[in-house]
């Protein structure tokens, strides 16, 4: 009878069960979206633009320092250079065609925030957080790959590491443009309402 095995070999069985649980955990965590890299309507290469050609992120994503969302550049931004640069290449001509016929591209969204989170780019840009901190080495990607699964724990960890002030002093300094406090970067808030409103 099988149950005899249970009785006699229970230690081994226990180990097997634990391993199975761990494997299941690993399996489940495989369902994060890290590595997600959908094909985009235009094979736009960040590596070429941001990496090789060193175009700053905010050249195209202009206004991110003021907006909560990072703007996806309109086709006029592309055409700003590509009306001259490489304008004979078919793909660029496609862009020009779309631009002239007023048909926007439908880019596939890569990064998703959990629902109910009101993330604002601008304070993070203000605080000098590099785009790559959250979006990975974009300048080395031809096609954008999701490198972070944005989850509350990550935000909290980062905010806590930035939080060098005792809580009592927190808000006083937040009102002023105080980028350092005794040599430390100041205080990312961890109030619920910072992100959930």
């Amino acid at each position: 009878m099988n149950l005899r095995i249970v009785r006699e070999q229970w230690r081994i069985l226990l180990i097997v069960v634990i391993l199975l649980v761990l494997a299941g955990w690993k399996f489940l965590s495989a369902f994060t979206n890290i590595g997600y890299s959908p094909e985009q309507p235009i094979p736009f290469s960040h590596r070429l633009h941001a990496g090789i050609n060193h175009i700053p992120c905010q050249y195209c994503h202009a206004g991110v320092e003021r907006a909560s969302q990072s703007p996806i550049p309109g086709l006029n931004v592309c055409m700003g250079c590509h009306s001259v640069v490489d304008n004979q290449r078919p793909v660029i001509q496609e862009i020009a065609k779309a631009y002239n016929s007023n048909q926007p591209f439908h880019w596939v969204r890569v990064y998703h925030l959990p629902e109910f989170v009101k993330f604002r780019h601008s304070p993070h840009i203000d605080a000098g957080i590099a785009c790559q901190t959250c979006h990975g080495p974009v300048e080395s990607m031809d096609q954008i790959v999701e490198t972070h699964q944005f989850a509350m724990g990550e935000c909290i960890d980062c905010h806590r590491q930035q939080n060098f002030l005792p809580p009592a002093a927190e808000r006083i300094h937040r009102d002023y443009q105080l980028s350092t406090f005794h040599g430390h970067p100041v205080n990312a808030p961890t109030d619920c309402n910072t992100c959930h409103s």
Partner: protein, 483 residues
């Protein structure tokens, strides 16, 4: 309660007490009688009951499914009565659950040997009642599928639970209570399951199953020795536990601000009420069980009478608590409390509890909980099966309404008159209540079918005591413990 209840005698038990059992009972007879429901094919009556119970359960399950699909709005909760029948049912079932542990643990510690006849079914009742009760907080939360957030488990969000919240106390208390009750019940059942196992001759699968659940119980003196000590320890911790559970449940209300809830009398008041309703439920069930399964020899009229006496006593305690609430409302001078309990004298707002929207509940509660049990002052009624059956049902009804009145009417008349509102349950509320009864009886009927409904070993023990044991040394579980 009476001289009968003194601890085990050091001398051979004199037959000064009236015997609990028929004098011609033998141990084999005990086995045969008590195990009969397990070995016989279920009767038509059992099937009928089971069908009804499962039907009721199906209704409840259907409503719950509907609620999960559509939303909480289908039941009667509203602003300001955010808690309605679900919490009423929760408190009601938790209260029912109390009698079981009380009978098995507290009466065990007080060495009330008459408890042996009913403790198994009472404990089973506890388990099932706690299952029913535990279901309601889950159904009651707005996002049922996230109810697991009430447990403190490590999570990616770094969030924990609020240990200041009485609901978290409840989570711990109820889950602890369920766990300990289950262990207590199961431990008490192991020797009986072994008895069943050994009594099975033909059916190998059944024998295997009972072999598994009886954990290879042999019944050696060593086993019994540790078993009894462990059982006594479980009883010892179950006793404060049972008191703490309903105290915690009462603190859902007592620590809240609502007038009519915010009261220090709630813990003892709720515990007394729980015992009251629990015993009433035990009477209801045992009246049925002893007839259906022909166990009149084991659950005797003396047992029933004792339980009825407890019902009477706890009824008095509950009535005292009602009176105290009224008195304290007047004595503290708190206008909100006063309004809750007797309103504004000489106005249309006098006695809102008995003139307002929950008036029916108030009357049912007073009559069933305070007046009806007084019939038990009469010995004849105490020993009349139909009378006690009806009274126990009425007490349960009254106790359900007591919780309903406490929960609903307190909420509907809170601090700001602008936020007063009148709660009305919908048909779905009643459907889920019905469903919980269905669940309870489904489980109970299955229990009767597969597990000895009376603790065989304990019956044998006390039967031997009644017959008269040889002058053995005064060894017993408790003596071992205290030695």
């Amino acid at each position: 309660m009476s001289t009968r209840t003194v601890a085990a005698p050091a001398r051979p038990a004199p037959l000064e007490e009236p015997p609990l059992y028929r004098p011609d009972l033998t141990l084999t007879q005990v086995n045969r009688d008590i195990l009969a429901p397990i070995f016989q094919r279920p009767t038509k009556a059992w099937w009928a009951c089971f069908a009804c119970a499962v039907g009721a359960l199906a209704i409840g399950a259907g409503i719950v499914t509907y609620q999960l699909l559509v939303g909480m709005g289908i039941i009667g909760i509203q602003w300001p009565s955010m808690w309605g029948t679900y919490i009423t049912n929760f408190v009601f079932w938790i209260g029912i659950g109390h009698a079981g542990t009380l009978i098995s643990a507290i009466l065990f510690l007080f060495r009330q040997r008459w408890r042996t006849a009913i403790n198994r079914s009472a404990e089973a009742m506890t388990i099932f009642a706690v299952i029913c009760a535990g279901m309601f907080p889950l159904l009651h939360v707005g996002r049922t599928l996230l109810a697991y957030w009430l447990f403190p488990y490590p999570n990616q969000r770094h969030l924990w639970v609020n240990f200041r919240s009485p609901l978290i106390w409840d989570v711990f208390a109820v889950s602890t209570y369920a766990t300990i009750s289950l262990l207590f019940w199961y431990q008490g059942m192991i020797p009986d399951l072994a008895t069943v196992r050994d009594a099975i001759l033909k059916r190998p699968l059944a024998k295997k199953i009972y072999g598994i659940v009886s954990l290879g119980w042999k019944g050696t003196a060593r086993d019994w020795h540790h078993y009894e000590a462990g059982y006594a320890m479980l009883a010892a911790i179950a006793t404060p536990l049972v008191l703490s559970v309903h105290s915690n449940v009462s603190m859902d209300f007592a620590t809240a601000t609502a007038p009519g809830w915010h009261s220090t009398i709630f813990p003892p008041y709720f515990v007394a009420g729980a015992i009251f309703s629990g015993f009433a439920m035990v009477v209801t069930l045992t009246v049925i069980v002893r007839v259906v399964f022909k166990l009149e020899d084991y659950i005797t009229m003396d047992h029933m009478e004792l339980m009825n006496k407890i019902i009477l006593v706890t009824s008095l305690m509950v009535a005292y608590a009602y009176a105290t609430e009224m008195f304290m409302a007047w004595y503290t001078g708190n206008p909100y409390e006063q309004y809750r309990f007797y309103g504004i004298p000489f106005s249309s707002h006098f006695w809102p509890a008995f003139t307002g929207p929950t008036a029916m509940g108030g009357y049912v509660m007073l009559v069933c909980n305070c007046a009806v049990p007084w019939l038990f002052w009469f010995r004849k009624i105490r020993r009349s099966v139909p009378a006690m059956f009806i009274i126990s049902l009425l007490v349960n009804l009254g106790m359900w309404f007591e919780r309903y009145v406490i929960i609903v009417s307190s909420q509907s008349r809170q601090f700001l008159p602008s936020s007063w509102g009148n709660y009305r349950p919908t048909r779905f509320d009643y459907g889920v209540l019905l469903g919980s009864f269905g669940l309870f009886f489904t489980l109970f009927l299955l229990f009767c079918r597969f597990v000895p409904v009376v603790a065989v070993a304990e019956i044998k023990h006390s039967l031997r005591k009644q017959i008269g044991e040889p002058p053995a040394s005064p060894a017993g579980a408790l003596e071992n413990v205290h030695a």
